[in-house]
Structures are given as structure tokens and as C-alpha cells.
Symmetry: C2
Subunit: 196 residues, 2 copies
DNA sequence: TCTAGTGTATGATCAGGATCATAAGAGTGA
DNA sequence: TCACTCTTATGATCCTGATCATACACTAGA
């Protein structure tokens, strides 16, 4: 939970519900709100002219999204779409800044969050550019494991299509690579779920 | 200039000089200092096991670098190397945070800087994944132009090799693509310099 | 139980960028 | 001025991941 719900509400946040597939904001728009996921799942996505998706990230319960344009004062470089029916907190930019000024610890939290996203993107960038599909996927899976779970084995909560959209590969390539990694003993597939 | 020099010095910063090619810090190290370029040029770089470089970014006079690991409390995900002989300000993490706490405006500046880097990396990620070399290069050049200069035509201050290292392409591909873009009238080449 | 929709799987072919080789031009320092 | 290094340049070949086509597996809902 980035900002506690009661604090958000005290500063005038409202909630809004979005059905699956609906955009919360679109690339190119002015950033006027701070957003935080109350429940559901949001993806940040770029579309190429051929319609191919590239997913910048998934945001789940408690995560904030779409802040960089508020801080950096530029338009949204990607669109936010509800990956599932989701309830979202919305807080006006001005009120968001007031909240930050009043709560130094939360302000620092955002430095940490931005830094971590930077780490993820930097990692994916160097991975994708020195592309071996297996290496890309392995790095993504390791990162997810570090972030999400500490168990020695955990079930990847993404479909092959989503992994493809995050790594810039095609579904078929992901499927083939995952299978190869399984036969090499690098991961397990339990009734189609990837266990890493 | 992220942090004014006198303020840095007042908080106990020291300067250090690095010859071209020397590392300021290496991937995997603990982050204990804040760094800012006094003069020269620094590149942030990842190496693949085959030795291929991927350049996360170049940092010039007045730029800070290597802060995310301080904020996010993780080890350096990339190495910083002097791209030219450079003089670098160095400030202990603890003193850096004291400085931030004393100067709210500077603290906000770092939000802005991190957000802008995030924008750059997100853009490159979606570009590289929906890879057409020409599109990748065009996007990089546009971004550089926006960031560095406002003139209608400006000389790109990078070699083809550096562009390759930033876009994940090979030199030959960059050279061929640049030539193609020239013959298509998308840019000019004035005695080997790229003018865009 | 049937159907629709989504996700997984697999083979065949193709194309584009990497790789390798070679060379010429430009900049730097002794 | 010469030697050396870095950068730009160009051609030939190769390889791998994209693309296209097709089919099966699983789930939810009627």
C-alpha cells in the first residue's frame, strides 16, 4: 500500500470502477491525477502502429501508477488499461502534492518506487538488447520471483502472451523457449502453469 | 546543474578525477555515495557475457548519476565508466539525505529527474521491442533533440557505435540505417556528423 | 453436455539483422 | 610526419526469431 486508504480519502481522493479492457488514461494526455489501485489489475501499455502491445508493467492492489508525468510534467508516454475489472483511487495532482509535503516519509517512498521501476526497466533494456529469448525470459522470471515471492518455487502469475508482451517476444517464441527451459530442468510446468 | 557546487561542497562533497575508461563504480557494488559530474562525461553501462555493451545513458557536466540505488537500497545494476577524462563530485549517502531534507526544492528535482529517466527508458523499451532499426534510431534522435537542443537542426553528439550501444543494434546496422535515412531525406550527414 | 472463448502447442517458411571480412577516412600523440 | 587507434563504410553469408497455419486443452456459462 503506497498511500494508506484513509489518508487518501482524507485528502479528497475518490474511487472509480473500470470494466476489463477500459482505458484509465491514454498516451498523450495531460496528467492531472494521482492513481492507486484499490483492487483489480491495471496494465501500462504502448501500442505499435501494427497494433502490437508492449506492456511497461502490471499494477495490482495497493500499487500506484502514472506518477512520473506528474513529477516530470510531461504527457503520458503510455496508456493505462484495466487488465481486469478494477477499482481505482483518484487524487487531484494539487492535493497529491499537498499530501507529499505533509508526509515526508511518503515522499521518500516515491523516490524508492521510481528507483525500483528504473531498475526494472534498465534491466529489461539491457536484456532485450542483448537478446537471447531464453536469457530475457529467465531474467524476467527471476525479477518477478524477487519482487513477488520469496518461496523457493512459485507460480508465475502471467500467461505466455503477457510474458511475450513484457519481453518483446512473440507468444510462439515464449512457448517454445519455456518448453526448452523445462526440458533443460530450469523450470517446471504444472498443468500449463509456469513454476519457477 | 542538479545541486549547486557550493551547496555540495558545504555539505562535505569532495571531487575526484577519473581518466578515460576508468570505472567510478561497478555493477553489484553497494551504493554509498551520491555522484555529480563536474566536467567530462560518464556512461552507465551493462556488459553481456559476450562482452557486448549496452549503454543505459550518458551523463555530462552538471548531471547526477547512480542515485536510484541510494533511494531504492539495492546494489548498482550497471557500472559507471568515465567516457572521457572527468572530474566528479562525491557526497556520502548520509550527507546527501541531509541535504535533501534541508532543501525541499532539490528533493523535488530528483523526483523530476527520475521520472524523466523513466520516460526515456520506457520509450526505448517499447521501441526496442517493436524493433525496426529505423524507428528505434529515429525515436532516439528525436528524444536527444528534445532534451539537448531546441534548434531546428542539430548535430548529434554521438558516434554510430554509441548509438548502437544505446539502441541495442550493431554498428553496421546503424551505419546502413543512417545512410538510408539520409537518402530518404530524413536527416543529413555533414562530413560524417549526423545532423537531425 | 454443448459451445464459445482464451490459452497452449507445434510445424514450415521467410526475412531481417547479426556476423565476418576488409578497407578507407579521421583524429591524436610522439 | 608517421604510426596507431577509432570511426565510418560496404559486401557476403548465416541464423534465429517472426510469421503463418492449424489444432488441441481448459474454463465458464447456457
Amino acid at each position: 500500500m503506497i498511500i494508506p486508504e484513509d489518508l487518501l480519502l482524507a485528502h479528497g481522493a475518490t474511487t472509480m470502477e473500470y470494466p476489463k479492457g477500459v482505458a484509465i488514461f491514454d498516451r498523450g494526455e495531460e496528467a492531472i491525477n494521482y492513481y492507486q489501485v484499490k483492487n483489480g489489475e491495471v496494465k501500462m501499455v504502448n501500442y505499435s502502429q501494427e497494433g502490437q502491445e508492449f506492456v511497461q508493467g502490471f499494477f495490482k492492489k495497493g500499487d500506484s501508477f502514472g506518477e512520473p508525468p506528474i513529477f516530470g510534467n510531461f504527457t503520458y508516454p503510455a496508456s493505462a488499461v484495466a487488465a481486469q475489472r478494477s477499482k481505482i483511487f483518484k487524487l487531484r495532482k494539487r492535493h497529491f502534492f499537498e499530501l507529499l509535503e505533509a508526509h515526508f516519509e511518503i515522499h521518500k517512498k516515491f523516490n524508492r518506487i521510481l528507483s525500483n521501476r528504473l531498475r526494472y526497466k534498465g534491466m529489461m533494456l539491457s536484456e532485450i538488447s542483448s537478446h537471447s529469448p531464453e536469457h530475457r525470459i529467465r531474467t524476467l522470471l527471476s525479477f518477478l520471483k524477487d519482487q513477488i515471492a520469496l518461496e523457493s518455487e512459485f507460480e508465475i502469475p502471467y500467461t505466455r502472451q503477457q510474458i511475450a508482451d513484457m519481453t518483446g517476444l512473440r507468444v510462439e517464441t515464449v512457448i517454445r523457449t519455456i518448453k526448452k527451459m523445462e526440458s533443460d530442468g530450469n523450470l517446471k510446468i504444472l498443468n500449463h502453469k509456469i513454476v519457477f
